[in-house]
Symmetry: C2
Subunit: 119 residues, 2 copies
């Protein structure tokens, strides 16, 4: 990349890189939905699966690992119980996503209304 290309891609549209960064971490079909579902409080594995709906255990498991790795979710094992109870809860850092979640949810609502009226 030469200096003129940099001018084009960074000066003219500095929003592309941040959006790319964001999608890299919270993009995909499930991550935001898992986070949103935990907004109401901590939940157990099968509970999340039921709440999110349509996600398989295998996929949910890997999503939760990534979310933990990126600091959005904390995995809590209540030891000394049999069978073991595991809970997932949001970290304070996940609060930083409030605006994103709100914007997305309200856009989704608006869009669905629009489609309904068009039909």
């Amino acid at each position: 990349m030469n200096s003129e290309d940099r001018v084009i891609s960074e000066e003219c549209n500095g929003v592309l890189t941040p959006i790319g960064d964001a999608l890299y971490v919270i993009g995909g079909k499930w991550k935001l939905r898992v986070i949103a579902s935990l907004k109401d409080g901590s939940m157990r594995f099968n509970e999340i699966q039921r709440t999110v709906g349509g996600i398989s255990a295998r996929v949910l498991s890997s999503e939760l690992k990534e979310l933990e790795l990126n600091g959005f979710v904390k995995r809590i094992v209540h030891a000394k119980t049999a069978p073991v109870v595991v809970e997932y809860e949001l970290t304070p850092y996940s609060d930083s996503l409030t605006e994103v979640l709100h914007a997305l949810a309200s856009w989704g609502t608006m869009h669905r209304d629009k489609l309904r009226k068009e039909r």
Copy 2:
């Protein structure tokens, strides 16, 4: 789904469905980036490809078709030119995504800063 389940999934967390709706339409790796890149004004195919970066012609072509179908983008053919010139521009409806794009971009910026400081 019985009525009690409905209470759980709709009343306790009515945000999941809208988020699902939104991701269905503007989710994926590229759609928001293509829209963001067109914010600065209409562009031609290869221009978009260069600006977005990392997207192949085949994929960009199919993304643009979906975006057109969903009313975010308008395809404009300047006829009577040889070779034909095609431009893509955002529709007024794509303005409804301003908040989403802004929230995502500013979160991305914040997150990148956070990672940089942690290293």
